[in-house]
Amino acid sequence: MTDILQLLVYGLVLGSVLTMGAIGVSMIFGILRFAHFAHGDFMTLGAYLGLTFISAFGLSAWWALPAAMVGMAVVAVFIDQVLYRRIRRTQPVILLIASFGMALILRSLVQLIWGSDNQSYATGIQFPWRLDWLGGIRLKPDHLWIVLISLGLVMAVHLFLTRTRLGKAMRAMSDNMDLALVSGIPAERVIMVTWVIGGALAAAAGVFLGIDTRLHPVMGWSALLPVFAATILGGIGRPYGAIAGGMIIGVSMEMSTLIIPAAYKPAVAFAIMVGMLILRPQGIFKGTV
């Protein structure tokens, strides 16, 4: 029982990371209609931006988080303006391949600037709390913060999407692009906001991953598969589905270590994704494809 609770904690932490990535992928798909393959490397770059804020400006990892989020939001808008905007009116597959290329560019850039060795935000070991009232499971303060901050960010995205004019316009565009245009909703502004949110959340995912484990140039790329699995599970183009998808994939991946070796964790995400595509391709919540 303790094992299961302990893995649930790890699963929620991983789920938080995946959710941060999956909301962005889902929104970008909803508005721009292509699977953003560079999203994993957005996470990586976000994590390394955080590292720079920590080492160069002496910020703590938690203060580096908002800084990295702002940084990645700017980078995401920049990449969109320079690359994706030019090919907006072509077919989605061209955007998809372009984003794949962008993924490779970003990864090489990270290696070039920060090197290809493992790095970490803080040295030393953080001592976990032992929760005797919960079967003696161990909980690291970092883990608690990751889950709580993710929750806060999800709430912020929710409020943005349901309470603000621009957030509603984003849902409208994702719902019915042509009608949004006919209603006079400024598409380019909504697209820009989509990248701001997608980029910022990707950076959050990257920094969380960096806090939880270590930094490595392929950290985000390896997380991309579970992020896509979470997106598909929740229904592509449905940011709320992405939250459910992220948590289910995260918890499933950690729980699977009870029965199969931990190295197969990504395979679990893959299996869920494939199963979902066969049984219910529209996702738990009906997606836009």
């Binding site: 719902d175 019915n176 042509d178 006079g184 909703i185």
Partner: protein
């Protein structure tokens, strides 16, 4: 007096093929103008061209005497032209109220007056304001679609087959609503398959065939014209 809308000799279409072959349209303030014609005549294409949704290759569109040829839909909305597409004319995952709000996206200030006006015209929408538009019936969705367009307080309302797929009862009701909207001083330009009923409420009508004007007259005259009746109204 300047016309509300005037389209002169429009040529244009999708890709390299011109569907419109010199189409002319005119709407005076307070008028209901109906475009009828056989399938493929270019009725919907003409509407889209006027609203800037497809490229006009030659010809010009004037709104209150000012050129708006190939202007972006955003500009059309700002000038007071609202357009309701034939299909997929609501935001399905959003509530009725949110659909209406999106109609007024470009409008500054308080929306409550605009909402009240739409709710007065369509009381059912007020009852269902929290309902998801995608879960409503075809008739209710059509009300949402028209309500969304009316949120900008338009001077010209363009409707592409507002009665498509509706039951006879709802068709009557829709035409009643269109008359009410028009009575508020809003010019209406619509494409209709239910040609007889549409021409009956119309001030003027156009019969379009292969992208050209075939006939233009008052609604009653077109209804009485034996040639029109034979060609397009099913006898």
């Amino acid at each position: 007096m300047t016309s509300l809308l005037e389209a002169r000799d429009l040529y244009g279409g999708y890709g390299g093929v011109d569907i419109l072959q010199g189409t002319n349209l005119r709407v005076e303030p307070d008028e209901i103008v109906v475009i009828v014609g056989p399938n493929g005549a270019g009725k919907s294409t003409a509407m889209k061209a006027v609203f800037g949704l497809l490229r006009i290759r030659a010809g010009e569109v004037l709104y209150k005497g000012e050129p708006i040829t190939n202007a972006k839909p955003e500009q059309m909305v700002k000038r007071g032209i609202a357009y309701v597409p034939q299909e997929k004319n609501v935001f399905p995952s959003m509530t009725v109220r949110e659909n209406l709000e999106m109609g007024a996206y470009l409008m500054k200030g308080d929306l409550s007056k605009r909402l009240d006006k739409v709710y007065t015209l369509f009381p059912k929408l007020a009852e269902r304001r929290r309902q998801q538009a995608g879960l409503m019936s075809g008739g209710e969705r059509q009300m949402v679609a028209m309500g969304r367009a009316l949120m900008i307080d338009p001077e010209l309302l363009m409707l592409d087959e507002p009665t498509a797929g509706l039951s006879p009862l709802l068709i009557d009701e829709t035409f009643e609503r269109i008359k009410e909207i028009n009575a508020q001083g809003i010019g209406v330009l619509m494409v209709e398959q239910n040609a007889k009923q549409a021409l009956a409420i119309a001030d003027r009508g156009y019969v379009l065939a292969t992208g050209r004007n075939r006939h233009e007259d008052t609604g009653p005259n077109l209804l009485a014209d034996p040639e029109v009746a034979e060609m397009f109204l099913g006898g």
